[in-house]
């Protein structure tokens, strides 16, 4: 029996019970998550951990109030008890209710599977450990490396969504990641380089082919040499200049300054106690010049290997692609069935996602991407830049609660002089105001430099939920930006 068939009767029983108890709407999600984590520290295997997790979350509307309850116990008695608890919570919510109107969505009865070539759980553990240990050995062959960390994570997730409106959706996900960090310290300073990006490496909706493609062993010596050289490199100067931002850093720039402010629940004030609200107020929709005319940003949950991809979101809405910024104009939000009507959408654009079975879904990014431009590859763009700084690989990130004022640091930077890369610079940083920054974008590299970066740790909601998002980006250039602001020179 398939996963969906195993739990079909249980889900129908839950939905029937909810209706009998007075729910005007109910849905149930059952999620099984199998994960494997492998971590190395220096030349040793530091951790091998597998995890199997199963449970359900039941969401109801009772007398206009939302209720949600969850359980790791999937016995029929436990499910009935969980439904009753969700109803009781819905009753409490209805004490001070706003009318809930869910936007229409077709009924879906479907099974969806993410794309991959090699199931990572079929790859011998020894192969994975050897890859990480060999990469560490390569890094430590560079004099001055004081610490290396390597990591691979693999997830196989099965999800069922069933609603009182008739949808029954079964989804299967395979997620893979790998990466490494190397550190150099001389007692007075410490520097880090990461590959292929920082804070967890690269994540994709993919199989072990991702690990094979990234070739950690080949890249380890390069980042090790860079980490050691950074100790002696001059500080990034404090100056206003043209900057070129590398692809992975562009991914985070998009995440923080476009993805989050375009979440509709933020714009409506529903996130204001924690992650904040948004400068993208409803009155600015289809009016604000968010960026220059070459800036096109879109949400796309259908990208085959994007970490933010799925077949259907966690309230059963089919994955979609739509623009958030088109020709520089802010033109849409990320929405839900409940909030779509507030911006006159007749259908949710499918952005409701939950961290796991025990969280109620909230509006989240899917894959938020910057459309490639026409400025050639990275070498072409550097060649086209008289004076500036090239920065890559995120080191730290911070942005205000309306998503205006941001500051990013990257692991490494290079001067650009007369169209060529010059000296390596350490502790680079840049900052600005979101809309001014995106309006200063004058060049974007083409699709040859385009990577859909996976971010596995986007935080939002109370209690805080982490989410998988994707960000397609090519390197881009921004004119007259404040650089070197974290360390004044």
């Amino acid at each position: 029996m398939s996963f969906g068939e195993v739990y079909k009767d249980l889900t129908q029983m839950a939905l029937t019970t909810a209706k009998q108890l007075g729910a005007s709407y109910a849905d149930i999600r059952i999620v099984e998550n199998l994960s494997q984590s492998i971590e190395t520290k220096n030349l040793e295997l530091a951790r091998i951990n597998e995890n199997k997790n199963l449970g359900c979350g039941i969401r109801v509307i009772y007398n206009g109030g939302w209720g949600f309850a969850s359980s790791y116990d999937l016995s029929p008695n436990s499910i009935k008890k969980t439904v009753k608890l969700a109803i009781e919570i819905g009753k409490a919510s209805s004490l001070f209710k706003e009318k809930i109107q869910l936007a229409d969505e077709p009924v879906h009865k479907v099974t969806w599977q993410s794309q991959y070539q090699k199931n990572p759980f079929d790859i011998p553990l020894e192969t994975k450990i050897n890859e990480l240990i060999l990469a560490s050995e390569k890094a430590h062959s560079v004099k001055g490396i004081t610490l290396s960390l390597g990591f691979m994570h693999f997830i196989a997730e099965k999800e069922i969504f069933a609603s009182s409106q008739g949808s029954y959706i079964e989804q299967h996900f395979i997620k893979s990641s790998c990466g490494m960090e190397v550190y150099a310290s001389n007692g007075n300073d410490q520097q880090r380089r990461s590959y292929p990006s920082s804070f967890g490496g690269q994540w994709e909706l993919a199989g072990y082919e991702l690990v094979e493609r990234l070739k950690l062993i080949d890249h380890a010596p390069k980042i090790a040499v860079e980490a050691v050289k950074l100790l002696e490199a001059p500080l990034c100067p404090t100056t206003n200049c043209d900057i070129i931002i590398g692809s992975s850093q562009m991914g985070l720039q998009i995440h923080e300054s476009c993805g989050h402010p375009s979440e509709l629940d933020r714009a409506l004030g529903e996130e204001i106690n924690y992650a904040g609200d948004s400068f993208l107020k409803l009155a600015l929709l289809n009016k604000l010049h968010y960026g220059s005319s070459i800036v096109n940003l879109f949400a796309d949950a259908t990208i085959p290997h994007g970490l933010g991809s799925f077949g259907y979101d966690d309230e059963g809405v089919a994955a979609q692609k739509f623009y958030l910024v088109q020709d520089g104009i802010f033109c849409n939000y990320l929405s839900s069935r409940e909030l779509a009507g507030s911006i006159d959408l007749t259908r949710s654009n499918g952005c409701m996602r939950a961290q796991s079975w025990n969280y109620t879904p909230i509006i989240r990014m899917t894959n938020i991407c910057l459309e490639p431009g026409k400025s050639g590859n990275l070498n072409d763009l550097i060649g086209d830049t008289k004076n500036g700084i090239y920065m890559e690989t995120n080191k730290s990130w911070s942005i205000d609660q309306k998503r205006y004022n941001f500051q990013f640091s990257t692991e490494i930077a290079y001067e650009i002089k007369d169209g060529k890369l010059g000296r390596m610079l350490k502790n680079p940083s840049y900052g600005g105001i979101t809309s001014e920054f995106w309006n200063a974008c004058d060049a974007i590299c083409d699709e040859t430099e385009y990577v859909v970066w996976g971010v596995p740790n986007c935080g939002k909601g109370q209690p805080s939920q982490t989410m998988w998002t994707g960000h397609g980006a090519s390197p881009a250039r921004f004119k007259n930006i404040k650089a070197g602001i974290a360390h004044k020179v």
């Binding site: 530091a46 969850s70 919510s93 204001i272 205000d400 500051q407």
Partner: protein, 452 residues
């Protein structure tokens, strides 16, 4: 009568551990079982109405098996005998596939359990209607003042239990209550957050009225030039700033050459008015009296009058540095090693009002936001102010100002503390609960201003 989820009892956890230890014997492996459960009932509201209302009940059973110089781990979330035996089987399968690691230690021996009574059943069993009634009262106050209230009321309980093949068994359960509130009007806001073991100690209604006053005070924020200012930091702001410093007090951060205190043990690193403990037994603190290997926690004096006095050590690093383990291990194996999760910074006797009165020109901060480390050696962090930023002139709060971005070294900051308030249990939105005081700090560096 609604029956809410409850944490497992001590006897239920002991039974799980005993069954697992017995089964592990048949596999000829040493075993550690770490059980953690979190029953979290949370009601979220915004714009004066309920937006999200949940019961979350999650349990994690972590099985670590060791044989010789190999170890492996498997986690499940079903507390049945069959599933736990499955986890042990799977961990043993992994054990055969991993290389030797000479650093692996024998599991800790049985400890003399220390009892900390931190369970308030009333708080653990608060109902959705109880929480909704409180929230309704708060939103009523907001409406009376033409404000919008948004926030979270969270109550429940959590447990940690651990047992191993060496007859170690420890169990701890505590209640928890958190109420956080943002009031807004037009483009300005104010905020509060209370956390603790007992819901009735959070003083929610009085705190809500205080937030109303601050929201009204925050109207019409003025432009201000960035630069260096004396700042008065709420305890919550101190919590979120210094949350970036605590891992630097671990033996692992020294061993990995990542601590900002490298080569500075027993040297003056902070101002003479700074004393910091890690102390789970402090009456204001929360949490279990043992670590994630079941080792009893000790009170550790980290900084005494500005001198770096000691670090926290898990068993592995205690052996490496020839020190005693302090009971601060994270779940093993773990590349981060250990963590001081029960920080107590000794406060002073100044009130916020005293700090304001003694300031010629400065800035009063309610809350900091998105604080991130930008330099691990000098410990520069960046972040924003939010939800109430005020100018202090000639000993008085004179007006609200627009929010600012700071780039400030925590090491420098703790060398220029001019006044300390009374320490209290507090939790910013991005840090663990800590006991810290409000601070008045000289020459705090603001780099830029935002638009609101």
């Amino acid at each position: 009568m609604l029956t809410q989820s409850q944490c497992k009892t001590m006897s239920q956890c002991k039974s799980i551990v005993d069954l697992a230890v017995e089964y592990a014997k048949t596999k000829n492996v040493e075993i550690e079982i770490l059980i953690s459960q979190n029953v979290d009932n949370n009601s979220r509201f915004a714009n004066n109405h309920m937006t999200q209302n949940q019961n979350m009940n999650e349990i994690d059973i972590s099985v670590r098996v060791i044989k010789g110089q190999k170890q492996a781990k498997y986690n499940v979330n079903q507390p049945s005998k069959d599933i736990i035996n499955f986890a042990i089987d799977e961990a043993c399968r992994l054990l055969k596939l991993v290389p030797d690691n000479p650093a692996i230690m024998e599991l800790p021996q049985a400890q003399t359990s220390v009892n900390l009574d931190r369970l308030d059943n009333t708080t653990a069993n608060l109902t959705p209607i109880d929480r909704a009634s409180t929230i309704e009262e708060v939103t009523h106050i907001a409406k009376q003042n033409n404000l919008m209230a948004s926030g979270l009321y969270e109550t429940g309980s959590n447990l940690i239990a651990i047992g191993n093949s060496n007859n170690l068994f420890q169990y701890f359960v505590q209640s928890n209550a958190t109420f956080s509130l943002t009031m807004t009007c037009d483009n300005v806001s104010s905020w509060m957050k209370g956390t603790g073991l007992k819901a009735d100690k959070l003083d929610i209604i009085n705190q809500a009225k205080h937030v109303v006053n601050n929201t009204l005070l925050a109207q019409n924020p003025c432009d201000i030039d960035p630069g260096h200012y004396t700042v008065i930091l709420s305890a919550e702001a101190v919590s979120d700033l210094l949350g970036n410093l605590w891992w630097d007090f671990t033996a692992t951060s020294f061993r990995d050459k990542r601590s900002c205190f490298l080569d500075k043990l027993h040297k003056q690193v902070l101002g003479k008015n700074i004393t910091i403990y890690d102390d789970v037994f402090n009456k204001m603190q929360l949490g279990a009296p043992f670590d994630d290997e079941g080792v009893n926690k000790k009170q550790v004096l980290l900084v005494k009058n500005g001198v770096l006095n000691s670090l926290v050590y898990n068993r592995l690093n205690a052996q490496f540095f020839k020190e005693e383990a302090t009971g601060h291990s994270l779940p093993q194996p773990n590349v981060m090693g250990e963590y001081p999760a029960n920080i107590v910074m000794v406060g002073g006797d100044s009130s916020i009002e005293d700090m304001i009165a003694s300031t010629d020109r400065g800035i009063l901060l309610t809350r900091v936001w998105y604080v991130r480390e930008v330099d691990p050696t000098s410990k520069i962090v960046t972040g924003m102010t939010r939800d109430g930023t005020f100018l202090v002139e000639n000993g008085k709060v004179t007006k609200a100002v627009k929010n600012l971005r700071f780039n400030e070294s925590l090491l420098e900051m703790l060398n220029k503390v001019e006044m300390l308030g009374k320490a209290k249990l507090t939790q910013g939105e991005e840090s663990n609960p800590v006991v810290v005081p409000p601070l008045k700090v000289a020459y705090f560096n603001f780099e830029s201003v935002t638009k609101f």
